[in-house]
């Protein structure tokens, strides 16, 4: 206000005195507004002819109103309120989160990085893996927090599931199945099948509890689907290792013949689950009823995936039919990699590769197309 021509102090004082007379100390805002309106109307009747003088006269009234209003303000500092609001307004230059925080030395060294270092930290494969891992942890913590013993159920539930399938396997063949001990045979089949199924269900629902995380600018749908599918290998590697360790302790099986090959089969089955789930997710977006169709398809895949048998045991027309399912090929290749007493004749790695590439390509196409669909934007 340095160079502004001062407004007539007498006019301000006269208007303020008039308002002071009319307003009590506990006047409500409505009363005050009505009083100000009356004063403005009175002043407007008798304004000077020169517009500049008229504006100055009206300005004096506004200054008087300002003086009166200050008495009714609790903090007396009218700027304080506006600056607080500015601090929470993302478009304001005073927005709290856009201000550089004052950091202590060790924290400063951690956060104050060069542009190149910052870019390295926020892009690349490792960064995406960290994002997915934190999303996975968030989903797990959310699921586990629904119950007092939620974390125990996270392990117990899949463990019981695998054991039930193993018992079925033991009921059908009490000792051996095609020269493989029944119990570890069942564990391999169950872990592979459940990994596939968990990856499919995790991916096909497109995020569930993680969907609100799409609000975060760096998180994409793919990260969320991946984080949901990540549950499958982590849980079933743990459960499978425990049960196969138990089988080894009971002398029912030995250390795997080809551990890298076995793990490659496991990774393949998980990725195929991920691809299939992405495909189903896309189909559900087009037609929600496909959710029901998928229920039947999944059951059909389960029956055809060699949970309780190997294709070499089956008669000819049935064998050809079962071998259409790439999952039975992967499970049999995995059993070949584990058991020294079994070597599959039917499973074909090339057939698996064909399905793997085809499903992967379809899943990528669906993912790319769905990213552009308006319906997939979270409202």
């Amino acid at each position: 206000m340095t160079d502004l021509q001062p407004v007539d102090r007498d006019a301000i004082a006269a208007a303020a005195a008039r308002l002071d007379r009319e307003l009590t100390a506990d006047a409500s805002r409505e009363d005050r507004l009505a009083c100000y309106a009356r004063l403005r109307a009175e002043v407007a009747v008798d304004l000077p002819a020169d517009p500049a003088d008229a504006f100055t006269r009206r300005l004096a009234v506004e200054y008087a109103i300002r003086d009166i209003e200050r008495r009714f303000e609790v903090g007396a500092d009218s700027n304080a309120t506006s600056s607080v609001w500015d601090m929470v307004d993302p478009t304001s230059p005073e927005y709290a989160l856009s201000q550089t925080p004052r950091l202590r030395e060790p924290v400063r060294r951690l956060f104050e990085v060069t542009e190149r270092e910052g870019s390295r930290r926020s892009t690349g494969v490792f960064y995406r893996m960290r994002v997915m891992l934190s999303l996975w942890l968030r989903a797990i913590n959310h699921e586990a927090s629904q119950d007092r013993i939620g974390y125990i159920w996270l392990i117990l539930d899949p463990l019981i599931h695998v054991m039930i399938i193993c018992f079925v396997s033991l009921f059908i063949h009490p000792r051996n199945i095609y020269d493989m001990p029944s119990y570890p045979f069942g564990v391999v089949g169950a872990c592979f099948w459940l990994t596939f199924r968990t990856a499919v269900t995790g991916t096909m629902f497109g995020g569930g509890v993680l969907r609100p995380q799409l609000e975060h600018p760096v998180i994409r749908r793919f990260d969320i689907m991946m984080a949901r599918a990540l549950n499958a290998p982590i849980v079933y590697i743990g459960v499978g290792a425990f049960l196969m360790g138990l089988a080894m302790w009971l002398n029912l099986t030995t250390w795997p013949v080809n551990l890298p090959g076995f793990m490659a089969c496991f990774l393949t089955v998980w990725l195929m689950g991920l691809f299939y789930g992405t495909l189903v997710n896309s189909l559900i977006l087009h037609y929600p009823g496909f959710r029901r169709v998928n229920g039947f398809v999944i059951r059909l895949i389960a029956i055809m995936s060699g949970l309780f048998y190997v294709s070499e045991q089956l008669p000819e027309p049935m064998r050809g039919l079962m071998l259409l399912n790439p999952l039975i090929h992967i499970v049999q290749l995995a059993r070949t990699c584990w058991f020294a007493t079994y070597h599959t004749r039917d499973a074909d790695p090339l057939y698996v590769l064909f399905w793997f590439l085809a499903l992967g390509l379809l899943a990528l196409t669906c993912l790319t197309l769905d990213e552009k669909r308006p319906e997939t934007v979270r409202a």
Binding site: Y36, F55, R70, P217
Partner: protein, 179 residues
């Protein structure tokens, strides 16, 4: 029969426009259908989907700092009861951040009926009063702002500046006219 065909055809065109993310056309067609055929569940759901999409896009633009995008996507939502509050806040915030004083006043005044209920609307105007050209209509705007926000410091200072500049401009004109 012709009416039904017209309805189906126009709804299909609106849906196609929405799929192509041309929300302006989709919304215009949908509102036209509502005006001609009245509301029904299908149209309500469709307009709801467009509004949700606009809301999501507006918030994405807000996160990205695209203030013009916020205003573009937020404007149709200013009259929608479900999205009005968020759209008003985002629109005014974006106008404060992105527009010059004169553009801000023009934009906000054009949407006065949709925005005046929000206190931020008058605050956004009070902030720029002092930066406007010293014209009688801008001075009147300053007084109007102070009627809504009595005693607002920044608005009052802006108005005082404006009146002062108006007086100086008048004095210069007088000096130029005098021989």
């Amino acid at each position: 029969m012709t009416t039904i065909i017209s309805y189906t055809k126009r709804l299909r065109a609106a849906r196609t426009a929405f799929r192509e993310r041309d929300t302006d056309t989709a919304r215009e067609l949908a509102l036209g259908l509502i005006a001609d055929h009245g509301r029904d569940d299908v149209l309500d759901a469709f307009v709801g989907a467009i509004n949700r999409y606009l809301n999501a896009t507006m918030r994405a633009a807000l996160r990205a700092g695209d203030h013009h995008g916020v205003m573009r996507h937020g404007e149709p939502l200013l009259a929608e009861p479900d999205h009005r509050d968020a759209a008003r806040a985002a629109f005014i915030g974006a106008a404060r951040a992105a527009l010059s004083p004169e553009d801000r006043v023009t934009t906000l005044r054009n949407l006065e009926s949709a925005l005046e209920a929000v206190p931020d609307y008058w605050t956004a105007l009070a902030e720029v009063v002092g930066d406007l050209p010293p014209l009688p209509e801008n001075i009147e705007l300053g007084f109007e702002v102070l009627e809504r926000l009595p005693g607002h410091d920044r608005g009052l200072h802006g108005l005082h500046t404006l009146v002062d500049r108006y007086r100086q401009a008048g004095a210069r004109q007088t000096m130029n006219v005098e021989p």
